[in-house]
């Protein structure tokens, strides 16, 4: 099944059920971006009325993933990495998200195989680490506890 955004004048929907039992009605053209769901639909050749269970995704993260897919579709001309990075930062700011939101989004993007979200999220994380100039700064940035005994430090 493959639909272009033009085919969404009369949108078809796929129902995705997150781990709490909440059902999200997602337009088919957005589901195209979720490789896992797309493959499940192709494999099972199921009717679009079937509910697809996503046992590892919480409903609030699913909302953010759907929002991201909509942003990507609406800004399909912006495919440069830095454009996607800006979109990711906007998504976080809208949700007033912190690092935990980033980690949860990456877990969800990996599970759902949303490549664009994975690329943007991992770039964001890499930039955050690279910006830190020392181990101390990384510890402060990501709230890591220094549990290395002093005698284990290598020169």
């Amino acid at each position: 099944m493959s639909l272009t955004p033009d085919d969404c004048e009369e949108p078809k929907f796929v129902q995705l059920k997150t781990c709490e039992g909440f059902i999200h009605d997602v337009e088919t053209c957005l589901v195209e971006q979720m490789g896992t769901v797309r493959d499940m639909l192709l494999l099972e050749c199921s009717d679009s009325t079937d509910v697809i269970p996503l046992a590892k995704i919480e409903w609030w993260i699913m909302k953010m993933v759907i929002h991201w897919c909509r942003l990507v579709q609406d800004n399909s001309a912006q495919k440069e990495a830095r454009d996607r990075s800006s979109m990711f930062i906007e998504l976080l700011e809208e949700a007033k998200g912190d690092d935990e939101v980033v980690f949860q989004l990456l877990l969800a993007a990996n599970y759902l195989n949303v490549e664009s979200l994975l690329d943007a999220g991992t770039q964001y994380l890499a930039d955050a680490i690279t910006t830190c100039g020392s181990a101390e700064e990384i510890r402060n940035r990501f709230n890591l506890q220094n549990d290395i005994p002093s005698d284990e430090y290598e020169p």
């Binding site: 980690f103 990996n110 680490i129 510890r139 890591l144 549990d147 290395i148």
Partner: protein
């Protein structure tokens, strides 16, 4: 008493069962699942998609953060495919290199040019852990290693395609003989400024390098017309050749080389006094890049000897 319509009762019952709709702003549950940086999947996400963007400095910083961060950094080093330390002669580089030699297991590209601190003792462990996958090795100007380090590269790196040994004065004829025996798939080779190699072993060596496309023999005194003839006969895929400072070559050798290598696009022949426009003029019509500009009134022959190949052998 107010009674509810049956549909209203059903609606209220459904509302009681499903989570209340929330806006994107306040959409997080009250007790979120704890999630830290290293809870993100390492093999699928952190290593292939985050660690690839990190520099070695970032990885070494991470190693000092916590035990888990150290494990992550070393797991990332294990999967790293390229190591670029050319020109890095900072004060504690040897300690860092020992860590890399222990951790890196999937290296394909190794750039260590101008690493004067590099010794056999430092390099051999890294080569032992990565010999199966190495494709490109650059040891230009690594003056403090010996042919001992070259041995595992020559004998065990079966996928090697690029080898750079410029200014490695320790490179011997014996090492080149070993290369002849074991490495015939090289695509790029640099032995410029290697004065200890003889003409004979070069002649035999190039007979086997049928896939060579980039070759640098700059300032190698044993490069003669006979060597160029061999290159022309056997290295038909050659595209770029550097013969700067090869004083023994003449128009004869250049002509033999360029006639048999139709793909040549770059020819560097500065400071080759016996190469003249007699061999270069036809090449200029082929739109080769030649580093020596065409001078007006240039002589067609440096001397009568230019018509004859160089006849001395250098061992």
């Amino acid at each position: 008493m107010c009674t509810l319509h049956p549909e209203e009762e059903a609606h209220l019952a459904a509302m009681a069962l499903s989570p209340s709709p929330r806006t994107l702003d306040s959409s997080r549950p009250s007790t979120p699942t704890p999630c830290s940086l290293f809870d993100v999947c390492w093999d699928d996400v952190l290593i292939p998609q985050v660690a690839v963007y990190l520099t070695l400095k970032d990885l070494f910083n991470l190693r000092c953060c916590s035990r888990t961060a150290k494990k992550f950094a070393e797991a990332a080093m294990e999967k790293r495919q390229e190591l670029h330390l050319s020109g890095n002669n900072s004060s504690n580089i040897e300690d860092g290199f020992r860590v890399l030699a222990r951790c890196c297991r999937r290296l394909e590209v190794l750039h260590l040019a101008c690493c004067r601190w590099l010794t056999d003792d430092l390099l051999l462990p890294l080569l032992a852990n990565n010999k199966q996958r190495l494709v490109a090795v650059n040891l230009n100007e690594c003056i403090n290693i010996t042919a001992l380090s070259l041995q595992p590269i020559i004998v065990e790196c079966k996928e090697l395609r690029v080898l750079k040994l410029s200014k490695c004065q320790w490179l011997t004829t014996g090492a080149v003989d070993a290369l002849t025996l074991h490495q015939s798939k090289l695509v790029e080779f640099d032995i410029s400024y290697c004065g200890a190699i003889g003409e004979r072993c070069l002649i035999i060596f190039f007979r086997r390098l049928n896939n060579l496309t980039v070759l640098s023999l700059a300032n190698t005194p044993s490069v003669t017309d006979q060597v160029l003839i061999q290159i022309g006969n056997y290295c038909r895929e050659l595209e770029h050749i550097n013969l700067i400072g090869c004083a023994a070559i003449s128009d004869y050798g250049v002509h033999a080389l360029t006639v048999h290598c139709p793909r040549i696009r770059t020819l560097l022949i500065r400071r080759c006094p016996r190469v003249t426009e007699r061999s270069l003029a036809p090449l200029r019509q082929r739109c080769l890049f030649i580093d020596r500009p065409l001078l007006e009134g240039a002589h067609n022959a440096y001397s009568l000897n230019d018509f004859y190949p160089s006849s001395f052998l250098v061992y």
